[in-house]
């Protein structure tokens, strides 16, 4: 006899996002650093910027800060990152 039960989980109907192809090198590139707005996240990104410039030959770093860590980046913030070849972001706390 048995039971047939329904799946309670939302499943993506199609792939909404695709990973970008990795850059072969950061040499001479422009890299964005998106600060999520949490306390001390700027210090972490200072360290990342230093490493990018010193060890990876990054040409330009674009630093942008979100106003609120628990909300998405505003359209203005996203627009300011348009020219970047790569972007670092994450949760600093």
């Amino acid at each position: 006899m048995g039971l047939i039960v329904l799946d309670p989980v939302y499943r993506e109907e199609r792939e909404r996002h695709r990973l970008a192809r990795a850059l072969p090198s950061l040499e001479g590139r422009t890299v964005g650093l998106l600060d999520n707005g949490k306390r001390n996240s700027d210090r972490l990104l200072d360290f990342v910027e230093e490493a990018l410039r010193r060890d990876y030959g990054v040409r330009e770093v674009v630093r942008v800060r979100k106003r609120d860590p628990s909300r998405p980046a505003s359209p203005e913030v996203m627009a300011s990152l348009q020219g970047c070849d790569a972007l670092f972001t994450g949760v600093g706390d």
Binding site: L3, L6, S70, R71
Partner: protein, 349 residues
Amino acid sequence: MRADRPPLKSATYWVADALEANELFFREGWTDGLPVIPPTEEAVLSFLEGAGLSPDTVIGVEPVRGRPISVEKVAINAVMAGCRPEYMPVIVAALRAMCRPEFNLHGCTISTGGSAPFLVVNGPVRQRLQMNATHNVLGSGNRANATIGRAVRLVIINVLGGRPGDLDRSTLGHPGKFTFCIAEDEEDSPWQPLAQERGIPEGASAVTVLAAVSPHQVMNEWTRDPRELLDTYVAAIRANMLTYSIWAGNYALVIPKQHREVFAAAGWQKADIREYVFQRTRVRRQEWREVGKASLVSQDNADREYTALHSPDDLLVVAAGGPAGGFGAVIPPWFGERSVAVTELVELP
């Protein structure tokens, strides 16, 4: 169900019986840690009838990750939670409210701060669903209160991906993350119901949702002075501003009958309570030195005064609780105004 309703889209699983269904659901991480009612197609169809909505209707879209919340998935999770079909309109209204941008559903779901949606139901639907507004109102014992709140939690887990350790990064969470839903005791209250204060017409039903941390129970049975009584609630709010978050937002007060009688005797309305609490819930940053947070006190901010509420209207005053006992509750917001309380009409089919 109407013959022309769209077919259900969810995948199906065959299991031998309800026990095996539960083992499957536990194994897959589809529950809150408690057993569930197996969501069979027959049960889910009856819940769609209860909602009066087509299964492919999208109740709302979680704005950050863009996840749609369909009636079909809500019905499945509501069956699992132990609801009855007629609870669906309240669950749908709560989820609609939570999808409003100002509620910041993604932020309050994933935060280490560990909040839960606190639901307050107003209007005739409370009686139709036999909801509890009196004894043990913040505790266990009433099917509608318990399972409506639980259904919302299961939707967060299964539809939004808010599993602990996955998207839900709560450090502690709190017991309200199992369920956190009450009705207001409108019949035994001298005051205008919460929903009407927030713009819902008299005679209509509504649910108000607040992203909240755990309730702080207060006790005062030794005064007939409304100010003194409120000073006890104020002390709990100030304690929260010192020990948890200093930022202003929506606080809720759950005021029991014994306290309501004190206010009624003095002629105090909810507006009087809100104004008094707004004036009294103030903290200077330098007080953080006394609670181990001196590192956040500087010359610039030491004298700055912080209020628990941006305005008196930020305070949600709810009449609920058993008939005896001077016990009330302060329910603080998750994190200041990062999430704003939302009230949504319950649309009955």
